[in-house]
């Protein structure tokens, strides 16, 4: 597995983490 494929393997986790952060930002800003 080369580095690019390793990055792709972790991409879903990074996307979910980003989604959680954006959700928290939205709740703090707009609720």
């Amino acid at each position: 597995m080369n580095d690019e494929h390793k990055l792709l393997a972790y991409l879903p986790l990074m996307v979910l983490a980003a989604a959680a952060l954006v959700a928290v930002f939205h709740i703090l800003t707009f609720w």
Partner: protein, 349 residues
Amino acid sequence: MAQAPSAPRSSLLREFALQQAPLILAALALGFVTAYLQHGFVPGADRPYPLAGVRVPVWHVIWMGAWTGYTMALVGQAAGIFALPYSTSVLQFSNPHVTPSTLLLTFLNPIGALLGFRRTGQWNLHFAGWLCAGGVLGGLIGPFLRAGLLADVDVFRLLLGLALAFVSVQLAQKALSGFAAGEKAPGGGVGAPRIVTLARERARITIGYRGGQWTLHQGVLFALGATVGVISSALGLGGAFLIVPFLVVVYKVPLYVVPAATIPYAVALSATGLLTYCLLLPLLGAAPLAPEWAWGFFAAAGGIFGSWVAAKTQLHVPEPLLNAMLGAVLAAVAILYVTNFFFPLPFRF
């Protein structure tokens, strides 16, 4: 889809520029145009969406479509399963208009995949036809359920919670069995095996793919499509979450063949549901439930991109782990919704 990661980077870029970017740009443009036509301005962080009653920046709606489309496509589900609870709970868009708005997402999101499947021969209208016909019937009925019994937000969330629980069980089961669609998934490119019709006798159809064959009863497909269509169009989902387990458990159709039926089904069901919400409800004396068109188009623009990225990178993703994680998230949301119906929780969500 499966062989794409080994394709040269330039061919991927060309594919994106020629096939995906026009769809994404069209969805974005339609988002702005429909915002002006429907409201006279573009809602966002400063001015709330009039029907939704919430302020959400445009980029956030696009992002919601992108991340839900990406993660759910990786595990073979539609974006709506995540986008609907995210819209109702995080973005606080929880009135009945959220359902047709999400239906616009479930209508547009699979179109890219549908075109791709058609190009590579991975679709079979004999397989999908009666299911879609049932979906059209369900899409005519479900919106009336939403405008009546499910108009109450808690009842709606209870049913949505049950749907999410059902999906989380599916994902958990896939995680435990170590399922990964991998190279067997349809749409593997030109020259890949096709899903063919082997026989059509009376109401039965036999389809074949990669040496396997499955006989299905078209009356059962129609009834399944109609039943699932009522529930899905009332909630704002594409329906695959119920169709897939039925076909897999009852007819033993492999998971990687089922999208040939569920993708056109989601498009047909969502289109009919949208028409019913906008036109049929007022024609029959009920109040129309218009979607936030701009919301749906912005989310779809992100969703098309997310689903495409998922299709191109799926081979490198630890699918069982992802099934477990997403199943756990959905289970947690489902528990919140169902619990809140019986024992109102002391916090807002």
